[in-house]
């Protein structure tokens, strides 16, 4: 599907959608959003790009295989889960910084947990879709 309009549009849509996905991730704790939806939106951004420019080109932008996002995401989530153990608290206890950080807002261990979910979702969706798309 070669369409000049779509190709031009995705050039701007990709960063905007990615930004939006991060926005969803960060606001998730207080407003509708969260890592899961954020991850799906980010995947849609890449899928859209692949429709316009071909999956090979999207893979080039990604540089690394989406599969490699799985261990990274799982590791971040696991770290967020196990971090309280080091402070002698039961696992999954939410740990929060006292003061909010500009732009990002409150930072706590559950934000990192959500970040892990976000990365795993992107990794899973893109791995499945791109593997099928590139298979011939």
């Amino acid at each position: 599907m070669k369409s000049a309009i779509l190709q031009t549009a995705t050039r701007y849509l990709l960063p905007i959608l990615l930004l939006f996905s991060v926005f969803l991730l960060l606001r998730g704790h207080y407003h509708p959003g969260g890592g899961f939806v954020g991850g799906l939106v980010a995947s849609i951004a890449f899928v859209l790009h692949s429709f316009a420019n071909g999956t090979e080109n999207t893979m080039k932008i990604l540089r690394y295989k989406p599969l490699s996002l799985l261990p990274i995401g799982l590791a971040i989530s696991t770290a967020a889960v196990t971090l309280p153990l080091l402070l002698d608290l039961p696992p999954m206890t939410g740990l929060w910084l006292e003061e909010p950080i500009p732009v990002i807002g409150m930072i706590g261990s559950s934000l990192f947990f959500d970040l892990g979910v976000y990365l795993v979702v992107i990794g899973v969706v893109l791995t499945i879709l791109f593997t099928i798309a590139l298979n011939d």
């Binding site: 969803l24 998730g28 704790h29 207080y30 407003h31 509708p32 959003g33 969260g34 890592g35 899961f36 939806v37 799906l40 939106v41 995947s43 849609i44 899928v47 599969l67 799985l70 995401g73 799982l74 989530s77 696991t78 889960v81 002698d88 039961p90 696992p91 999954m92 939410g94 929060w96 409150m106 706590g108 559950s110 947990f113 959500d114 892990g116 979910v117 795993v120 979702v121 990794g123 899973v124 969706v125 791995t127 499945i128 879709l129 593997t131 099928i132 798309a133 298979n135």
Partner: protein, 769 residues
């Protein structure tokens, strides 16, 4: 104490990256791990001998009651000393035994893992922690039995052992959880106080039945005994360590540990006495017919384990004292005999007792160690074995029951068998004339014969000073099993009495049997006729039937057609839900309470139905996929109307991606041709309609149910207080039910890996089977 458990685990994992260096240059470091641990526990002996117990607590999963609770009392300490002490001997011995083996590092990795797990079992004060370590011993044992992984027999034996102990572990877990729930605590030392509550509970027979299965499978009691002789396929250091001195005694340990909490009832004592009694005589007779040295030792080990179970079943103070001594006695002489067998096997490459003779001429020190162990096993006066056997006879003779005399006779017969077996394994290979071809047999390395020598000498030294040894090592053990003070004092000499007469008679009869009866291949073969009724045969048959049943089930239910799976899943759900719906009675709809219908809802439903119509009638796959996504978006809109933005967003993105996925897959498929017959279409329509109707009815039913909002209220109130979040949905996902999310991400990752590997895997035609 935690560090002693972790040391082995950590070094075991360190062997993965550093195995090569350890194997070639630094292998001398390995035996010092058990040495350090042994010294650590030896240092605790005086403290524990005073009756002090040492405890340590570390939270692990407190919400499930699973914690690292460790407790060191007399019973734990005796086992910890055996594990680390015999471990030391085995590590030095094994280092020479396996010198130059390609899997040298792997072997010690498993062995360290096992040592840690076993320490965990005997130190754990929480039954769930104990269970985790228990399973770990089964797993490490599996790898060690199957160590010679290029031999089919060895792999089979490993699998048999794992299946038997694994099934036992499964029952054990059920029993432990039940016991813990009845006692309302998973802490073992706290369960002791709940003894009456547990034993009077209506589920008590089930609880101990399940725990018995676990303990009997692990400790090779009849009818689960056969995995132990099979496990002799393992390298001999493993047999000496796991399958005689430590792991097989884990079952005995568990029973002894739980005796103050669950024991002292008629059911408990009778079962243990019958099973133990039968096992000890059955295995003692079997051991007489083996021609393989390790076979003899394996069956005599089973018999010794039977004696321990039997003593536990007697349950009297005398019996528990005898048990605490016999554990030590047996570990000392049996480990020695196994190591000696290993030396013989290593130097002459045979273990056939009918061929081995006169080896004392080439390896005198080994003969001395073997002789001392054989004498201790025979219970010759002045050995520790003599004390052990005396105590056993005392325990049976002092019973108040009038059938005590029969139990004594049983114990005597078993011991006669054990005397003969000990002589056969420890003396036969060394006496007589050295056969042709064995003149060149070399002395083993010093590291191989010194450890068994030390253990054998200890068996004698302990026998000379039973008072001291008993006070330090066995007194608190017996107390821990009995739960009270046993007032135990061992003496070298009891005077001329019935017990001594029986001891001497046993020795004489055993020696006579040794000279009168020679095991031969023919006798062993004639015994094989009874294999049809052996429990091993029966278990194998059961295993085969399960395999067949599973094959039949898989072929009929899992036929590989996606449509057939869908049909079955939906039909099953319909039946289950329909039945529940029918049970719950008629449905009444209160129209007054329903929200009024608005025009946009009607509009969405109209679109929904239109899309449905297109899906059913269209001839193009693509059209039907797009129509499906129309339905998804409609539902998404409904979520928006009813103010569930999180759901709406997720549904929207998921639907988009699903459509993309469908298109990608459909693109690769051949063009659509309709093969479906009319009848099948009607069947599918009925199933689909039925499902829709049932779900609608359930939705109406839910409205009719009294509204319970306790859970959502809790989340609503606490989301900000406990988790500092204002979006309740997100807080539930990342905090309250975060573990679920965690595992869901793992499942998703596995699914992605599955798709990736299924598509990317390109087998060469030679690799396809």
């Amino acid at each position: 104490m935690l560090f002693t458990v972790l040391t082995g685990l950590i070094t075991s994992s360190l062997l993965v990256p550093f195995g090569k260096i350890i194997k070639t240059k630094w292998s001398i470091l390995l035996p010092f791990i058990p040495v350090i641990l042994f010294l650590f526990y030896l240092w605790h002996v005086p403290v524990v001998a005073n009756g002090t117990t040492i405890t340590q607590h570390l939270s692990w999963v407190p919400s499930l009651g699973v914690n690292f609770d460790f407790r060191l009392d007399g019973l734990s300490l005796l086992f910890a000393l055996l594990i680390t002490g015999i471990g030391t001997a085995i590590f030095f011995y094994g280092r020479s035994y396996l010198k130059g083996h390609i899997y040298f590092d792997r072997f010690f990795g498993y062995l360290l893992l096992f040592m840690s797990a076993m320490l965990g079992v005997v130190l754990a004060n929480n039954i769930l922690t104990l269970f985790v370590f228990w399973e770990l011993t089964s797993i490490s044992s599996f790898f060690l039995i199957g160590f010679n992984n290029d031999s089919k027999a060895s792999r089979n034996s490993a699998l048999t052992a794992l299946s038997i102990t694994g099934i036992g572990g499964f029952f054990l877990l059920a029993g432990l959880v039940l016991a813990g729930n009845i006692a309302d605590t998973f802490i073992i030392s706290e369960m002791f106080a709940q003894h009456d509550k547990i034993t009077n509970h209506s589920l008590y027979p089930l609880v101990i039945g399940l725990i018995f299965i676990g303990a009997f499978t692990k400790s090779a009691q009849f009818p689960f005994h056969f995995w132990l002789p099979g496990a002799m396929k393992a390298p001999t250091p493993v047999s000496a360590y796991l399958h005689s001195a430590t792991m097989v005694k884990a079952g005995i340990y568990l029973l002894a540990r739980l005796t103050p909490a669950l024991g002292n009832t008629e059911l408990w004592n009778t079962t243990l006495m019958v099973v133990g009694g039968f096992t000890m005589i059955f295995a003692a007779i079997h051991s007489l017919f083996r021609t393989d040295l390790k076979g003899i030792l394996a069956y005599s080990t089973v018999s010794a384990l039977g004696i321990l179970t039997f003593l536990l079943g007697l349950g009297t103070t005398d019996a528990l004292i005898a048990m605490s001594v016999f554990i030590l006695v047996h570990a000392l002489y049996k480990a020695t005999l196994f190591m000696v067998t290993g030396i013989i096997d290593h130097q002459t490459h045979t273990r056939d007792v009918t061929k081995l003779q006169g080896l004392r001429k080439v390896m005198m020190p080994v003969f001395i160690a073997a002789l001392l162990a054989a004498l201790s096993s025979a219970g010759l006066p002045l050995t520790y074995g003599f004390i052990g056997k005396d105590l056993i006879y005392e325990a049976t003779l002092n019973l108040k029951e009038n059938w005590a005399i029969w139990l004594t006779a049983l114990a005597v017969l078993t011991n006669i068998g054990l005397v003969t077996a000990g002589f056969r394994a420890g003396i036969t290979p060394f006496t007589g004339k050295l056969p042709e071809g064995y003149q060149d047999v070399k002395m083993p390395y010093r590291a191989m014969w010194v450890p068994p020598m030390i253990l054998a000498v200890l068996g004698i030294v302990f026998g000379l000073f039973p008072g001291v040894v008993g006070d330090y090592f066995n007194y608190q053990t017996a107390n821990a099993i009995a739960g009270t003070d046993t007032d135990m004092h061992l003496k070298l000499w009891h005077g001329f009495n019935t017990v001594l007469t029986l001891s001497v008679a046993t020795l004489a009869a055993g020696a006579a049997l040794y000279f009168a009866h020679n095991p031969t291949e023919e006798k062993l073969l004639s015994l094989a006729r009874f294999d049809v009724v052996s429990s091993q045969h029966i278990f194998r048959q059961i295993g085969r039937s399960i395999e067949k049943g599973a094959g039949w089930y898989t072929n009929t239910i899992h036929n590989g057609y996606l449509r057939s799976y869908h049909l079955k899943i939906i039909l099953f759900a319909e039946l289950l839900l329909g039945y529940k719906l029918w049970l719950s009675g008629p449905i009444q709809i209160d129209y007054a309470n329903l929200t009024p219908l608005s025009w946009y809802e009607v509009g969405i439903v109209a679109i929904l139905i239109g899309a449905l119509y297109i899906i059913v009638t269209t001839k193009s796959r693509l059209t039907s996929v797009v129509s499906t996504s129309v339905i998804g978006y409609c539902i998404c809109l409904l979520f928006v109307f009813y103010s569930a933005p999180d759901l709406a967003m997720t549904q929207f993105t998921i639907d988009t991606l699903t459509t993309v996925l469908f298109v990608l897959v459909l693109y690769k498929l051949p063009p659509f041709i309709n093969f479906v017959r009319q009848g099948i279409l009607i069947r599918d329509a009925i199933v689909a309609l039925g499902f829709g109707i049932i779900i609608s009815l359930i939705a109406l039913r839910v409205l009719y149910e009294p509204n319970t909002t306790a859970i959502s209220d809790f989340y609503g109130e606490n989301a900000y207080l406990l988790a500092k979040g204002k979006n309740v949905v997100n807080v539930i996902l990342v905090d309250f039910r975060g573990m679920d999310t965690m595992f869901e991400t793992v499942v998703l990752s596995i699914a992605a890996l599955g798709v990736y590997s299924l598509i990317k895997l390109r087998l060469k035609s030679s690799e396809k089977e």
